[in-house]
Assembly symmetry: C4
Homo-oligomer: 217 residues x 4
């Protein structure tokens, strides 16, 4: 710790509890996504005959549940990844995190909205705006931490930061396109959201660099 005090003159907080709070909000938001799925209400005498059809109608909702869950997973992994490098925190950084989790906590609502009104442009756009803002908060989060190596070790290679920045921007760019596309076709817009996670999940240049860097340590 003494070593950090020396280096991070603005840092006066531990990043550990921020991670705990963020993990809590992620866990709850993820679980509440499924809680929004309502069990269909059918007359008991017709349930055996009608339930299969009613569940089939829920298939788009299940798909949107999975998309939102995996998108939140992507952001959780990204947050996780940033904190592997960030080793200090200050009050401004704390508030960037609180705004970030405020947007994360909003995802169950926007998922509910898009699940019910997947054919309505504004619903699909609200969903995209929330994701766009989350991506923006992630970018700000990184930018603030790395500025002059404020909250990261002096030894972090610039190449790693540059790649991380570029990587984060993909989300907001795709969401911006999807928001515009929704005016024409809400369905194509949803497909774009669904393509986001695969892009992030496939291990990329960034991971190789992280590995190389750690191998060198």
């Amino acid at each position: 710790m003494e070593v950090h005090q020396d280096r991070h003159t603005h840092a006066s907080m531990s990043p550990a509890r921020i991670e705990t709070l963020a993990d809590g909000v992620f866990a709850i938001a993820m679980t509440l996504l499924a809680f929004n799925l309502a069990v269909p209400i059918i007359d008991p005498s017709k349930a055996v005959a009608d339930l299969p059809g009613e569940l089939e109608k829920l298939l788009p909702n299940f798909a949107l549940y999975a998309i939102s869950f995996v998108v939140l997973g992507v952001y959780w992994v990204a947050h996780h990844a940033q904190f592997r490098v960030i080793d200090a925190a200050d009050r401004t950084f704390l508030w960037i995190n609180i705004v970030f989790i405020m947007l994360v906590a909003f995802v169950p609502f926007s998922t509910s909205l898009i699940s019910r009104y997947w054919y309505v442009p504004i619903a699909v756009q609200v969903y995209g705006i929330v994701l766009l803002l989350i991506g923006g908060a992630m970018y700000l989060h990184l930018s603030y931490a790395v500025k002059d190596h404020r909250l990261i070790p002096a030894t972090t290679p610039d190449e790693l930061i540059r790649l991380a920045r570029r990587r984060i921007l993909v989300g907001p760019v795709v969401c911006s396109v999807a928001i515009l596309v929704a005016f024409v076709s809400p369905f194509v817009s949803i497909v774009l959201y669904a393509l986001l996670p695969p892009f992030y999940i496939v291990p990329g240049a960034l991971d190789r660099l992280v590995f190389l860097r750690e191998a060198r340590v």
Copy 2:
């Protein structure tokens, strides 16, 4: 840590935060199970007379709450047990975990469904399919981690891994049978689900081996 870097060339993440997120989702999913139990709504003037009967009608729901809670407990213990051996993580492993907790977060919905439509084959089958997929994710989780001792210490005995594998498979096998049985009798199918936890709870050969191994350390 340096020791691990040497060994796990693909590993670049800490397993600790995965456990935190998973524990959070387990805790919430477990608590929401009970939240799905709706208090019966009765006319206040008749409540003294009618409430006992209304609560009696909820007895199957209470039983299904207990079954789901204990089944989630079984999987939590299994997840816990795997992480006692796994000492590293990489991006693929992270995503296996995210899919795993996505399925766990789905259990309150499938429990709600089976509680309301315990006499409908498809409801009992959806419940079983979710458990089957959770078991499958657990198996994949283990297989990925142990492959070439990717995320486990080189000293982990093969016997332990072989027993763990066999143990995990019991769940999916029982669920597969229960899913088929539900076509004929949803009730027998539910009894099969209820038998799963006792099987796992009774300490078995695996625990003895873990104990032996640790005693040797």
Copy 3:
């Protein structure tokens, strides 16, 4: 750790993750208590005039919220206190904990029930039975851990264990009385539940002993 392996031959699990899961369930169950409080629905044009009266009607619900919250607080503190002595865990102990948190997760339901039907004996009794079972699980939890110093250090004084046992039993005894009293007067029964927390909150002989013991260390 090696020291424990020597001592606790049955213990093969870490108590830390049990505490994490239990803390999660306690936190959620506590927060959901308040979530059960429904905002009164009034015609907007009459809200200014009628809301004060509607909120007044909720006062008993607020009181029952506070009682349940504080009772859960008591059990959380007790669980916390036991884990300050317990330093190992095995599979049976894990399952006692899972049953314990299953009962804790049930408290929002029983609180909802008693909030709506505080004048109905069976509702007041169900509330008491849940608390009785939680107390029983706590007692079993302690008894299992201390038997032959299974999961506690050999140096734990018997006097401490004897006092802890006696202290835990007060809850189930008071609840048993309250359950019987509810046949005659549900209101008196609720007063008895409300008296439980003050009994536990006042620091007693046990704390003094814990302090003495630690002072000696």
Copy 4:
């Protein structure tokens, strides 16, 4: 630990699990705030035309969500900050914390209430009373911990404590004014609540002092 035993003769508990429970309740309360936002129900055939207008009607609810989230963020940061100095805990302190989180868990209800009845004085006042009580609990929390350096290191400068005390009092003072103002204008009262977070977020004299103190260590 032995060092603390020496110093804090009343302290017999670890502050770590208190923080875990509090973080859990904060995370859940924050996420449930958004869960209270109900997706508008519109006839599917009119959704494309009517959804924009319906979402516009929700704008005050979104604003109140953001205010409550940020206010909870303020209190979480304050709680966090106190625990950076507090290094011990006793039973009384534990109970101050339980009352504190009981009030925090109440915020989703009071936010729901003010969201629906933002034009009704009593709703705006209940919201303020909850915040006032949370601020009071924070003040008690600090006062109890610092009294005779009960739960803080002997080296903590008095200047730091004095500034922290003054800082905490701002919340209750603003809330008291807002509660009175609500009799005349609920809207102005809400504006006052919205002004609270900016006051706390701007780094102040306290942070500079914390920094100086740590720089000296």
